[in-house]
């Protein structure tokens, strides 16, 4: 495995704003997949969803997976969060094998999935309720996170009173509130309009830099992948397998101008070639 373009968090601007607690120096930090595959059993026989995958995501890395729909990306995400057991192979998070939901992840789906009967603040506090953590301590953290994403003053609003982009920002706060090491994002901005989406990309990059989380993001958009990622994993069509893993040579911090960089366009072009022979991305 080729190491990524060194995504160290400490020497980056804004590192002093990190909301993470300092990590214990455990064995093999990050996420390791070895021989992980998934086959669904259905009435018509076994349906392979993922071919055996081997890769490692470094701690604090921004790792993006692109692939056609139905290539098992969401399955991958569920397995890392511990909701789904792999058919073969092992998943290690910080050296510990994942067998059941371990709560060390924050998840953001395509839809914000805020509970309509809870106000924004109490939606953000959902993981705290589920994990039975002390509410008072985390209330301050939740408010700080809402401030970080620019939702200060909206704590008492109900989800439907917010725009789609604001709802998605609240759901990012919810994914961060319990201070997980990993953020899993399944096409988080897929439901947003193009302009909001670009804005959210910049914002997400800032949040990731300030919190130092390991991010695994799944997307259909190749430019989005290249723009955000330290490394991009390209997947093949179902059953999903690794087509390639690319290092993104763009320097950080990046802005929307980075998209004009020749290195950016070249990498986008190269990744796009993977899908030429396959059916179009959707």
């Amino acid at each position: 495995m080729i190491p990524a373009t060194k995504p160290t968090t400490t020497d980056q601007p804004g590192a002093h704003l990190r909301l993470v607690s300092d990590r214990s120096a455990g064995a093999a930090p990050g996420i390791t997949l070895s021989g992980v595959s998934k086959t669904y059993r259905s009435r018509d026989g076994d349906v392979p969803s993922l071919k055996p995958l081997d890769f490692h995501i470094n701690e604090g890395e921004f790792f993006v997976v692109v692939g056609p729909s139905g290539c098992g990306k969401s399955t991958l995400l569920k397995m890392i969060s511990g909701l789904l057991a792999p058919s073969t192979g092992k998943i290690l998070v910080d050296g510990e094998q994942v067998t059941k939901p371990h709560g060390n992840v924050g998840i953001v789906f395509q839809n914000a999935l805020l509970l309509p009967w809870r106000n924004i603040l109490s939606n953000v506090m959902l993981p705290i309720d589920m994990k039975r953590l002390p509410r008072q301590e985390y209330l301050l953290r939740a408010k700080a996170l809402l401030k970080l994403v620019g939702l200060e003053g909206f704590e008492k609003k109900l989800p439907w009173q917010l725009s789609g982009g604001m709802q998605q920002r609240a759901s990012i706060c919810r994914a961060l509130v319990h201070d997980p090491k990993i953020m899993l994002m399944d096409e988080p901005f897929g439901a947003l309009d193009a302009m909001t989406r670009e804005k959210m990309n910049v914002e997400l990059m800032r949040i990731q830099r300030e919190t130092g989380k390991t991010v695994l993001l799944i997307t259909h958009s190749i430019p989005e992948a290249v723009f955000l990622a330290d490394r991009v994993l390209v997947m093949t069509e179902r059953p999903g397998a690794i087509a390639a893993i690319y290092d993104v040579p763009l320097p950080r911090p990046r802005s929307l101008d980075s998209m004009a960089d020749p290195a950016f366009t070249e990498l986008v072009q190269r990744i796009r070639k993977h899908f030429f022979t396959q059916s179009a991305l959707d």
Partner: protein, 269 residues
């Protein structure tokens, strides 16, 4: 309302939402009275509104006394529907096995006409309140189950996954996600159920009872006392409306966040 124009009290009253059904009701009553006069419908076929009102006026204490057992049976039957219907729906929605065993039978049981088996309850439980309650329960039960099952099943699986990934226990996730999500559907079932429970109670009174509005109905048909019969129908309708309204109020309290209630929130804030 345009405050600047300062509309007269009369026009403002006429525009009040709660008044509209009453205006429409008055229209219907007038049309009813006119139809009887115009087409010379004999009183033994359809009584005139005046006669019905007269009965309502003079027999008011007696009708109220008879309305009580019906109300009581309705509320008991409705409460049982909710008490059993919601947990049964939880089981059906929660387990494919339970669903495959129970749901088809439940649907099948609904095809059995309750009126046909109501006499059976009289045989089993006598002429008291119990046959009425059971009859009200049997009619009110099904809509609660069907709506609640649909409510529990329509939860976004991603939402449940999200809560589970945060290490929420099954019960925690159910209480935080599934149950509140199913509430609007449960209430729509309860609203149908409460009006059907009235019907069920009356059916129970038809087949074997010596009290209640159903009993009044049957007796007045037997003696061709149509004004009394219509008065009894009015009382039944009122009972249904009041019970429905109570459930509706409770719904507004329990799920103020729901789409159907949002206007109230905007006005309140």
């Amino acid at each position: 309302m345009a405050e600047a124009k300062a509309p007269s009290i009369v026009s403002r009253a006429l525009n009040a939402a709660w008044l509209r059904p009453f205006l429409f009701l008055i229209f219907i009553v007038v049309a009813w009275d006119l139809a009887i006069r115009l087409f010379r419908i004999p009183a033994y076929q359809i009584p005139s509104p005046g006669d019905v009102l007269a009965v309502l006026w003079t027999d008011w204490p007696e009708l109220l006394r008879q309305a009580w057992p019906t109300t009581y049976a309705t509320i008991c039957g409705f409460a049982l529907s909710a008490l059993f219907g919601i947990p049964v729906a939880m089981l059906i929605a929660g387990s494919k096995t339970v669903e495959s065993y129970v749901y088809p039978l439940l649907v099948f049981s609904q095809s059995v006409p309750k009126i046909a088996i109501a006499p059976l309850f009289v045989v089993w439980f006598g002429f008291g309140i119990i046959p009425k309650v059971i009859s009200a329960f049997l009619l009110g039960f099904f809509p609660v189950v069907v709506s609640a099952v649909q409510g529990f099943k329509s939860v976004d699986p991603d939402m449940v996954d999200l809560a589970r990934a945060m290490q929420g226990s099954r019960f925690q996730v159910f209480r935080a996600v599934n149950l509140p999500h199913a509430m609007p559907a449960i209430f729509s079932g309860l609203k149908v159920s409460v009006t059907l429970a009235v019907v069920g109670a009356v059916v129970g009174e038809f087949v074997g009872s010596n009290s209640g509005i159903g009993y009044v109905l049957q007796r007045s048909i037997g003696t061709f006392d149509l004004p009394t019969m219509f008065a009894a129908l009015v009382i039944l309708a009122l009972l249904g409306v009041v019970l429905f309204w109570i459930v509706d109020r409770i719904e507004k309290l329990v799920i103020p966040w729901h789409v159907s209630q949002r206007e109230d929130i905007i006005f309140a804030s």
